[in-house]
């Protein structure tokens, strides 16, 4: 069988629940050997997309080819070539890591000896070899997710679906999962990753589809998406909160564009067109007024700002203070 260049090709995918369309007219192309990020807020249709493409849910409209097979007619063959790591760590809590992997390996119809060998390989690979017989319920969140990843990799499937793999993990657990995912991609696995963490998409994905209300509203590389909303931004951080309003007015005048204010961080952010000139104007204006500045920086927009720009929902703005920088 010739190996197609794309791992996933989706045309006009639609899925409704009762009469509400969760997906409508969704187009998606995922190149082999890449991490493709599916980025969107809660309820945008990310999980529904994954559930449809992994044959867990039927679709009502459109066509899709997944891992070289037609979604409508070749579900069994698709299941043979994909791995799914869902939002919950879908592993048995009572059993140990090795027992879990052996169980799933047996259900992939590996023989008893092959199942044991594969379990050992995967435990080694995901850094779980020294967990011994401990039940999974004693694992940390990061360990559990790594076991979950391993369970999705039993047959080393060429295509892996990760549905919000780091939700609920602490920063260290996230870092563990990310580096595990990178390791897989280095070995040639294609990954479709859904996330609402912009940082995650930025760090892992080479292409990102922004999804909202069940369809893709923008697509590109992380840097391409960022340049879509044009200009660089200037951030001004003040030493105290008191002069925030005055400073905001000054920055607005100096840059000629609307500012956003992040009160807790004493930070003001505005778009700039002429980098160096704008920087000089802002610094001079603040200095003239005698405002005390802790930091000034010029930067590219964060994915969060891109997201905000694309979806036009203000409710995400507060995330921008902590993610994606």
């Amino acid at each position: 069988m010739p190996t197609p260049r794309r791992a996933i090709t989706v045309r006009g995918l639609g899925r409704r629940f009762k009469d509400r369309w969760a997906l409508r007219g969704l187009d998606l192309e995922v190149d082999r050997g890449t991490v493709h990020g599916l980025l969107g807020p809660n309820g945008a249709g990310k999980s529904t997309t994954v559930r449809v493409l992994t044959t867990l849910l039927r679709h009502h409209e459109g066509t899709a080819e997944v891992a070289g097979h037609d979604l409508a007619t070749e579900g069994a063959l698709i299941r043979h070539r994909i791995g799914l790591v869902g939002q919950n760590a879908a592993v048995d809590e009572v059993l140990g890591g090795r027992q879990n992997l052996e169980l799933f390996a047996r259900l992939h119809h590996l023989g008893r000896r092959d199942a044991r060998r594969r379990a050992d390989e995967l435990l080694e690979r995901f850094d779980l070899a020294d967990t011994g017989r401990r039940p999974v319920s004693t694992y940390s969140g990061g360990m559990r997710r790594r076991l979950d990843l391993a369970a999705g990799m039993i047959l080393a499937p060429p295509l892996l679906f990760l549905d919000e793999p780091t939700v609920g993990l602490d920063p260290r657990g996230r870092e563990e999962v990310w580096s595990a995912v990178r390791g897989l991609v280095d070995d040639g696995t294609t990954v479709l990753l859904t996330t609402q963490y912009l940082e995650e998409a930025d760090r892992l994905a080479s292409r990102i589809s922004v999804i909202d209300h069940g369809r893709v509203i923008a697509e590109g590389s992380p840097s391409g998406l960022k340049s879509r909303i044009g200009g660089d931004r200037i951030d001004v951080v003040l030493t105290d909160e008191g002069s925030l309003e005055r400073a905001a007015a000054l920055v607005e005048r100096a840059t000629g564009s609307p500012v956003r204010t992040f009160r807790e961080e004493h930070r003001i952010s505005a778009e700039v067109e002429d980098r160096a000139a704008a920087l000089t104007r802002v610094v001079r204006a603040l200095d003239d007024e005698g405002l005390r500045v802790a930091d000034v920086l010029l930067r590219r927009p964060t994915l969060d700002e891109v997201f905000l720009h694309l979806t036009g929902t203000e409710e995400h703005s507060h995330h921008g203070t902590e993610v994606g920088r």
């Binding site: 629940f17 559930r51 992994t54 044959t55 867990l56 849910l57 039927r58 069994a76 063959l77 299941r79 043979h80 994909i82 791995g83 799914l84 869902g86 939002q87 919950n88 760590a89 879908a90 592993v91 048995d92 809590e93 009572v94 059993l95 027992q99 169980l103 799933f104 047996r106 259900l107 992939h108 119809h109 590996l110 092959d114 594969r118 390989e121 080694e124 690979r125 995901f126 850094d127 039940p135 790594r146 369970a151 999705g152 039993i154 047959l155 080393a156 870092e175 563990e176 580096s179 595990a180 990178r182 390791g183 280095d186 070995d187 040639g188």
Partner: protein
């Protein structure tokens, strides 16, 4: 942290798992093998936490002790007979009923945790999850039944006819449990853990008491006795009493007169309704 931190060793040699079989017979083989693998998961649970299984077995034993020694003194069997002998077939059936809660819990926990979804996204027989559940629960119930039979013999119950008739009685009890497994799977998939388990466990006792398991339905108000007679549990209990040859109180109505027949018909009817419902629910989880 670098990109290859967890990347130890080379890519494992490509694994060639057998492709899904075609033809009905190999496919049945797969379904059974996968079902057994799923069921074995429960056996591994028991091996890991034997005390849990132990407590599960202890509960019916305590119930028997309560009914025989605390309540038994004031219980009498209409038409005469030893209450312990009258009670035990009812207790056997109650143990089958208690298994319902275990089925619901296991099914809804898996569905909630996403384990069911993982199974469904894997290249395994699509019937394996329900078949495996069924196998594991039947094994567990058989084990519970054996323990309780042993305990029944200790407190003075016994069968009075040929052994094969007694064996048929045990078979009917397990057939009843088999029907309850399918109800449990269906309920577990529908409620997915949202308090549904509590409802089931609350309903187990009324369901048990509204039958001939503990007292003869003739001692109830007429309308209630009729309802109790039509409880599938009653048919199984009455049939078991008949087969064990101990004291039995046979009611007036047609349903009570045909307990042996109904002890077969009721479970088959329930399976015929709930097995397809469960499988459909499982295949179409999430709509």
């Amino acid at each position: 942290m670098t990109a290859t931190d967890t990347h130890t060793g080379d890519r494992p040699s490509p694994l060639l798992a057998p492709a899904p079989p075609s033809g009905p017979l190999p496919r049945l083989g797969w379904a059974l093998a996968d079902g057994w693998t799923v069921a074995r998961r429960d056996l591994l649970h028991w091996a890991r936490g034997p005390w849990e299984l132990g407590f599960g077995l202890l509960f019916p034993v305590l119930m028997v002790l309560m009914f025989v020694y605390l309540l038994g003194g004031s219980m009498s069997v209409p038409g005469g007979g030893d209450y312990t002998e009258y009670l035990m077939p009812g207790m056997f059936a109650m143990v089958m009923v208690f298994g319902l809660g275990e089925t619901v819990t296991a099914v809804s926990t898996d569905a909630n945790r996403g384990i069911t979804d993982r199974f469904r996204s894997m290249p395994m027989a699509s019937s394996a999850v329900v078949v495996g559940r069924c196998l594991a629960d039947m094994i567990r119930s058989t084990l519970t039944l054996i323990v309780l039979i042993g305990f029944g013999l200790v407190v003075g119950w016994q069968w009075h006819g040929p052994f094969d008739r007694a064996l048929l009685g045990f078979g009917l009890l397990l057939l009843f449990r088999f029907a309850l497994v399918w109800i449990g799977i269906y309920v577990g998939l529908v409620v997915r853990g949202q308090g549904g388990m509590a409802v089931i466990q609350t309903l187990e006792f009324p369901f048990g008491f509204l039958s001939n398991a503990f007292v003869a339905t003739a001692t109830m108000p007429v309308w209630l006795g009729t309802v109790a007679d039509w409880n599938p549990l009653s048919s199984t209990v009455a049939a078991a009493r008949e087969l064990f040859g101990g004291p039995n109180v046979i009611g007036e109505g047609w349903i009570a007169q045909n307990a042996l027949l109904m002890a077969v018909v009721w479970p088959l009817l329930l399976v015929a309704v709930f097995a397809p419902l469960s499988v459909r629910r499982y295949r179409g989880l999430g709509g």
